[in-house]
């Protein structure tokens, strides 16, 4: 399933980018990537991968069957410019579901990079036989992600009101979006 990587894409501005799974030697490049994410956005990371110790622990225990992390790497200099993680579940009751988390470097937004990465995850999830993909976005912070997800047929499935607190202590909604993968398109 991973043998097709690296996968090449070209962003709207002509940047050649390779998508590939994270490997342990990416630690320094990932540290650099997260350090360039604005502090206001780092706040919303569920796993504090912007902290070098946390990232180090996580990358030493890479387990693609639990979390499949894919990075977008600039072809010319190897700089990591986006990161998406497909969270998988071993429990039989939710084995058919995957969760997405995505982060795109501020300099590479509005380039359709996030859309390509979400699409890549949809294809991987299909190949794995998953039936649903779930993505959660913080309202007012991750609206670009919401728009990318909508274009890829994710549907609003729910809102957790005031679920998230921002840095100033103000509440924000968590938008839950779902992409069904098991659809039969024979009537298309």
């Amino acid at each position: 399933m991973l043998k097709d990587y690296p996968k090449a894409i070209i962003t709207k501005d002509g940047t050649c980018v390779l998508l590939r799974p994270v490997v342990a030697t990416d630690e320094a490049a990932l540290n650099h990537f997260f350090s360039e994410i604005p502090a206001d956005e780092q706040w919303f990371l569920r796993e504090k991968l912007d902290e070098p110790e946390t990232l180090h622990r996580w990358i030493q225990q890479l387990n693609y069957s639990r979390i499949l992390p894919i990075v977008a790497v600039r072809e010319d200099d190897g700089k990591i410019i986006a990161n998406i993680r497909l969270h998988l579940h071993s429990a039989p009751c939710i084995h058919h579901v995957g969760h997405l988390r995505i982060m795109v470097h501020p300099d590479y937004r509005s380039q359709r990079l996030g859309s390509w990465m979400i699409l890549d995850c949809i294809k991987i999830a299909m190949d794995m036989g998953l039936e649903k993909l779930i993505a959660e976005f913080v309202s007012g912070i991750e609206d670009a992600g919401i728009n990318a997800a909508i274009k890829l047929d994710f549907k609003h499935e729910g809102v957790l009101k005031d679920y998230i607190k921002d840095k100033k202590g103000e509440y924000r909604d968590l938008i839950i979006m779902v992409r069904n993968l098991a659809s039969d398109w024979s009537d298309f």
């Binding site: 090449a8 894409i9 390509w116 949809i122």
Partner: protein
Amino acid sequence: MTESYSNSSGSPDRDTQSILESDRGPIVIQSKCPPGLFKNLQMDAGLGHFSHYSSIIQKLDSFDKFATRKDGRVSLAILQPNVIIGYCIGSYPEPNDRWSLLGGLMYELAALEISRNFRGINLAHKLLGQTMDDDFFEDKIAYMCGYSWHWDLEGKNLTAGQYRNMMKQLYGKFGFREVYTNEPNIALRPENIMMIRVGARVSNEDHLKFRSLRFGMKPK
């Protein structure tokens, strides 16, 4: 099922024909079928028009059309004596197709289909393998585009995702890998798939031109 090669005098070229013994009689896999070969053949009833699915090729004339084209390739699986039960078609892209902008570099495997009545006996693998067993492809980027609206999901009892996986595995055995493109038909559905095989003699420069074209950047 066993496989043997015909070498009797007067038969088609040994390199382009193999014979499978099946429960329903011998099946000839014939690649590089020449124009004119098709008029005495007939299509199996499992190739045709169904409620949720139609065969891409339903008339014998269409085989002639492809075989007549420059470097056109038609491979057939023929249940003896004369029933077409599967086919693989190859040709250069149509002039209005994005990939034609790279001239003779790109070569499309435009269709591969097995009759509903003869699936599950590895015929697609045999047809594709025999079609690709040709030095011609070492100068080409061979590609296939899989569109879910062409797939016989009902007949195979598969979801689009499962069908996509089946295609990946089949073509993957012959060196094809999935690539991304913003070509509108491929991009319309995530289960759609473009797979390519880059021939051994294709230059890196041509490979890069193709990559740019995949994202709408025309060659200079």
